[in-house]
Amino acid sequence: MAHPLHDAVRGSLDNCVKCTICETYCPVSAATPLFPGPKYVGPQAERFRGEGPSPDDSLTWCSSCGICTHVCPQGVKIAEINSIAKAEMAAERGIPLRDRLIARPTLAGRLGAPVAPLANRLARNRLVRAAVERAVGVHRRAALPTWAGRTFQSRTRLRRQPPGRPGERPAVVYFHGCAANYYETHTAEMAVRVLEMQGLDVIVPRQGCCGLPLQSNGLYPAARHYVRRLAGSLAPYARAGHDIVSTSTSCGLMLKREAREILDMEDDDDLRAVSGRMYDICEYLALMHERGELRTDLLTPLDMEVPYHAPCQLRGHGVGTPAMDLMRLIPGLRPRQVDAVCCGVAGTYGLKREKYDVAMAVGEPVFGQVRESGAELSVCDSETCRWHIAEATGVPSVHPVAMLHRSYGLG
């Protein structure tokens, strides 16, 4: 079997100087002795993988949070090496039904949306959750989202404009991702209102899943298929000169870089066009502010302190913490960044029966600081992290645009 690792990803392991910096940051190995750490399962074990099975199972504990890669001073693509090796191991051993299911949020989203009240009641029912845990291995206490009755897509049909439409105002494309379509439609609505507040027209084209959950559960061919389809529907807008703005840090990062690197899709022209125009919404608004285009004059005071957690996937964007910069513009608002690296859920990792306890232990420093803050809500850019943090702390968690939305007096 040909080794599927992208040459540049695998080749980067030769840069490892064994400095152990990655080991000291890995939140999973800090939480459990079952995981020996990134250097060990990454650049070290990779030398023994080559062709054939992985020498060592401990790899499956890696949550793919990506922290190791960005703290490595030598440019070793540790998390990427681990992701690819994990996928290969999964392919050899067979991927459980549970992983196939949670890897397709559009499927659950589509099944649940029409019967949202019932689905939500079932998802909150302890007996149902215990049965689901036994049958498919989704932990009974793992945070599941709440289905919205109508999808965001069906609410915003009018915004489905063609690319390059000559308008009076500049137009951006909004990429909502599955979470905002099926569950957190209010986040999507707030994002659109906040963008419009800046004098932008917002186009919401038809769009599917980015394939990230498939990728993180090792289903690469299916993930590539999803990426190609999504890139195909967004690329005409990118080529017509529209920027694409996303409220999902993980899905945005997938389109910016992960699909190209991990799924080895560097040659996909559509994807390249989309990557070049893709922005996280806070990154985009902060750049507007840098150009003097953000309507700071309309921000009204919010007298409160809020804890803010920068999700790992946002760190992967390499743009810093623009949410902090934006929140600091709101008079009276005192955002405090949580001093911890990961909340533990890492997409679908923390949902799994066998991983749940480790995920909770990883997140404890985040939860502790949110609880101790005594704040009425906490802020985080990534949806799965918000659900996880809210469930673990009992404190609601919102996207940073919610703070702007409030300060603009939009509701």
Binding site: C19, I21, Y25, P73, V319
Partner: protein, 417 residues
């Protein structure tokens, strides 16, 4: 507000960024990864060997730079270095750094060598070997790569001034935060932040130590609350304890990294760890933006001033290609190669390697200069190991240069604005 981009998050970059943020600048640090502090023992070396072991670094420096006009200290020795170290003592107060330029301490390494260094946290300074000492070196069974017998053995042979001697024996403690497993230093350190864990270890130490002895322990006694953890452990064990730095990850360096990055955040500075700097845009001799490669694209980050603190060869601040050409890859600055030309590499590992002194040459305001001595960019500074002319690992000068240059670069920027 003056916008400053600092490239590199090692000691030089962090010191510079923190000083700038305290001075009211809008500062962002961009770094390809964590800087070298995680790998360093957390001591502040100013000048350890010149080439003989240095007893009084302040005094020795004057003559030493007079003979070496190309050395970074030629721009930094004297007032800039002293001011920087005073400032550092203040910001690092929670770690209680002691020592100064008057005299080097002699602190034990894990290999049992008496290492000259100017400043160290209280928990390490407690192991100062000057004047001799009775010690018991205590290893931790679960911690690999720390050998108390080897440490004690070599310490008995250590060459100390005035013929002083070390009386040393060794022992092993079995307390572990993860029983049954090999445990790296950072797990010990995080566990020992908790008083309950310290009680367990202290009980063993009390049984080991004899009156008049100092306990030498691997430097894993707490991560966040380190000075308190150390003090509390001494009290519980009923004996003085001194920390000895381990192989990386080196906890005292991590503590300093944590302290500086937190202080930077509190002073309003930003850290962007992950993306790398790949160039600058500018005209008329001034930079207007740094080019940063993030997940999707190379973006131009506007900046009024830029500080290059990308480190030496170890960190990729300087590169050598297979033709023997030395380059500065981030901004493409002119590089002063090994003095005397050639590849600058000695035949054996511990020989002189003049190549290690390669880097960018700077003027008195730490601006990188070209071959004629003129600044390449009016608003670019360099700090730390990227500056040409020093061989820190041989001279034991790395932290002194990093702190003095980082602080000085910040002060000259604040003066300019």
């Amino acid at each position: 507000m003056t916008r400053v981009a600092v490239i590199g998050a090692g000691l030089a970059g962090l010191v510079c960024a923190l000083r700038l943020a305290q001075g009211g600048a809008d500062v962002t640090v961009f770094s390809r990864g964590t800087g070298g502090l995680h790998l360093t023992p957390g001591m502040i070396d100013v000048l350890g060997y010149a080439p003989e072991r240095v007893e009084a670094p302040g005094e020795t420096l004057a003559g030493w730079v007079a003979a070496r006009p190309e050395h970074p200290y030629a721009q930094l020795a004297g007032a800039p270095l002293e001011e920087a170290l005073d400032w550092f003592r203040g910001v690092a107060a929670p770690l209680r750094y002691g020592g100064d330029l008057a005299a080097n301490m002699l602190l034990p390494t894990a290999a049992g060598v008496a290492r000259p260094t100017a400043m160290a946290p209280a928990g390490m300074a407690a192991g100062d070997l000057r004047g001799g000492r009775r010690v018991v070196a205590v290893g931790l069974r679960a911690l690999k790569d720390f050998f108390p017998a080897y440490l004690a053995d070599n310490l008995r042979r250590a060459a100390l001034p005035g013929g002083a001697a070390v009386e040393a024996r060794h022992a092993v403690a079995t307390w572990s935060p993860r029983p049954g497993a090999d445990v790296q230093g950072h797990y010990f350190a995080r566990a020992l932040d908790e008083p309950g864990a310290r009680a367990g270890l202290a009980a063993e130490l009390r049984a080991i130590v004899e009156p008049g002895e100092t306990v030498l322990m691997p430097a894993v006694l707490g991560m966040r609350a380190s000075a308190e953890a150390w003090e509390d452990l001494c009290e519980r064990a009923g004996a003085p304890i001194a920390e000895v730095p381990t192989l990386p990850p080196c906890i005292p360096g991590m503590r300093l990294n944590l302290l500086l990055t937190r202080a930077l955040g509190e002073a309003g500075g930003r850290m962007v760890v992950g993306p790398e700097a790949v160039g600058v845009d500018g005209s008329g001799g001034r930079i207007d933006a740094v080019r940063i490669r993030d997940a999707a694209r190379v973006r131009a980050v506007p900046a009024d001033h830029v500080v290059l603190a990308t480190g030496g060869f170890e960190s990729g601040g300087v590169e050598l290609d297979s033709y023997g050409a030395v380059r500065e890859p981030a901004l493409g600055l002119p590089v002063a190669g090994p003095p005397g030309g050639g590849r600058g590499l000695g035949p054996r590992h511990l020989d002189e390697h003049p190549l290690m002194a390669a880097g960018v040459r700077v003027d008195d305001r730490l601006r990188p200069v070209d071959a004629s001595g003129a600044p390449v960019w009016g608003n670019l500074r360099a700090a730390g190991s990227i500056i040409a002319g020093a061989v820190p690992w041989r001279e034991k000068s790395g932290e002194g240069i990093a702190i003095a240059a980082g602080h000085r670069a910040a002060c000259t920027i604040l003066e300019d604005t």
